[in-house]
Subunit: 87 residues, 2 copies
Amino acid sequence: MKVRVFVTLKPSVFDPQGHTIVEALHTLGYRDVQDVRQGKYFELEIDAGSPDAARARADEIARTLLANPVIEGYRLEVAGAAAGVAP
Amino acid sequence: MKVRVFVTLKPSVFDPQGHTIVEALHTLGYRDVQDVRQGKYFELEIDAGSPDAARARADEIARTLLANPVIEGYRLEVAGAAAGVAP
């Protein structure tokens, strides 16, 4: 079962990569881009019996390995199921 | 208008980061994880008049700056609109 994990810096944390991308876009003439936040994206293929089981497993993995909960939040999407958000 | 851009390596390209994550997960006991692909994730805030205009702008930006079209593909999602895929 495929689960997508999106890891992004918390809104209160400064994102220097995103800031650099905005500046590069403005230099290239894309002045209509107001803000960019960069994050990480993972596609997990999990052997689980149900979407709920896959989500629970991915949540545990995201919390312990993929995201740094002090400065990052994450969001999960199980293929064919609704999205879930972690603070 | 918010546009999300997902950049991933093409399926034919080996993903050493994803491979390392799978090995780490197996070492930690998560043996039900069969595969991991790592990618990049961007949230763009674009000043556009319509979702279609925002998507066109983000597509241009993803193609020219965010993804390397030789080895990477990307996917766009405009907040509140359907998903689009680039090869």
